[in-house]
Amino acid sequence: MTTTIRERERRTGWMLIIPAMLVLAFVYAYPIARSFWLSLFTENLGTQLQPVFSGLNNYGRMIQDGRFWQTIANTMVFTISTLVLELILGMGIALVLNQAFKGRGAVRTIAIIPWALPTALIATTWAWIFNDQFGVVNDILLRLGIIDTGINWLGNPAPAMLSVIIADVWKTTSFVAILLLAGLQSISNDLYEAHSIDGASPWQSFRQITLPLLMPQILIASLFRFAQAFGIFDLIQVMTGGGPGGATETVSIYIYATVMRYLDFGYGAALVVVTFVLLVAVVALAAFFLSKLRTATTGDA
């Protein structure tokens, strides 16, 4: 009986964690493993929806699939643009909401509303806002004399992508802002006071105190947003349906079409697996930076 307290604690720890692990295994590991298994088969209308083992055929087909690469590119453009815009705007909003002013509580509550509304509803609204005939955006631009004829926002590739990015930024910035606000509140005011006594300008304080101390929250917010934006479906499906001509088609929408419209289950599964691997790679990278950061700020691994 040489079990140390530490060992016993460890064992208890495992016991406590096993139920959660089992749930994770059922909810995440099983579907992914099954998708991978299915991706080794050809199961589509050509095979009367019967699975026929075809090895890595689906993956080979993906390499030649121009549409897949276009959707990856679209997804990256969407993800990176929304991420950057949301971080910048979210930071601005968080800084404002962190100041003491009258009615701050009310403003904080209002700021979260876009994020709390159902996406399909917001997407429908934005589709009308960008409508070429009756849209508010065209109306404002026409009245200001910036354009002569209405822009067909959702009907042309680049404007359509811009439109869905704007809609997503509008909806999700508040989420980023709230995350960053929580981080800001954990930074002691003493630091700023001491810094300003040392003669630092507000900009210097922001650069040298706020940003470094807020880095964990920024990374977590980026991580959340990256994972969500990479899998974006509802907003774009409702606003443009992936159009015009696939210009706003993201990976999720392509997977949906492959499975639901084409009934190409094997190939759809292969698309899921590749997207999953890409996503995990990025998240692992971010998690790695996060843990390094933790080590740097707290000295504890």
Partner: protein, 442 residues
Amino acid sequence: MNSSQPSSQPIHQFRRFLAKWLSYRRNLVGMAITIALGIILYAKIALTQQPIQLNVMMSALDAAQAQSVVQRFEEQNPNIQVNLIEGPNATNLVEDLYTSSFLLGDSPYDLIAMDVVWLPKFAAASWLIDLPDRIPEEELTDFLPADLEGGRYEGRLYRLPYRTDAGMLYYRSDLLEEAGLEPPETFEDLLTASRTIQEAGGATWGYVWQGRQYEGLAAMFMEVLAGAGGYWINPETLEVGLDQPEAIEAINFLRSTVGEGVSPPGVTTYQEEEARRLFQGGNSVFMRNWPYAFPLGNSEDSPIQGRFGIKPMVHAAGETGAGCIGGWGLGISNTTAHPDEALEVVRFFASEEAQKLMALENGYLPTRESLYSDPDILEQYPYYSGLLEVVQNGVLRPPVAQYAQASDILQRYLSSALTGRTSPEEAMQLAANETRILLGRS
């Protein structure tokens, strides 16, 4: 009394209580069984007297328009009740709803109202029951050949069409007459006539069509391709003809319409309505469109009222013009409990009586040749007589199970060839390759 067994008394009491309770309960059980049987019997009687319910989903607009046909059917068949379930107005969403209901199993629909391009997919997925041979052959002879063929998959009939649609050429008869020209037959005729009239100032544009990347592009291209003597996919051999010279010729014709200033550059973003607005506004000599544009162009407030005609699509010299067939029909779901009754509905919707009703009430194009000479219909729509030639020359989009995918591949590459991002040869080579991979032919 039995004081010698004081302890047994409570036991006796208990036994008696138990026996009594048990017999009481037995009665109760008996009663419950009787009542349950009664209810079942009653329900059975009630149900057999109730009409059989058949469900079918259509887009909300189509469902509203089908109401009167259903009414008449129910009058003639009091034992069958058809429930029209309203789906979304976008037909691709209706297809998605049907698809998910079948994928999840136990679809609630007995009948399926199908667009002609869904049929191969639904049939290949074995979601449909093929229509039994009980439909007499002579009942099928009146149907337009392409429309009937659109209901077949691998030789079996799954759908009877009740409404057709076909692409065709609209031309401004007044402008052609002024210029002393006949309606064009070939691609070249159309370009020449357009340029002549454009130069004379008759109209800004010569020809408007649908060039946007969407299903309508595939339908429009199908006509030009068939008119050039080419093919997209041979449904029997699954050979792909997109990289053949005829397909390149078809693309070159479309590109030349823009290149020679006959079509507006924006035509590659047009759907049906953009084209119709230009044509109806008097800004174009020719237009490729579906029949719906005819009554609109002839309405009271239309600037071109009575000044245009229709004819089959133009074609290459030595070929014939082809119209891409669209349209709707009913099939029977494999989950139905009442296939015989469902068949009655399918036949009624395709019958002369129902199609005439739909033509008169909703302006649907019938799928039966005889109705194009029906005096009542011609009185209301005199132009239907000219439509017969168009619908008789109908071509089907390839009836392969993976049509939706094949169409998306074609649309992508065709659009990039039409907008000049890729050369026609390269685009069609890529499209043909991807289609071959899709069909498992490489």
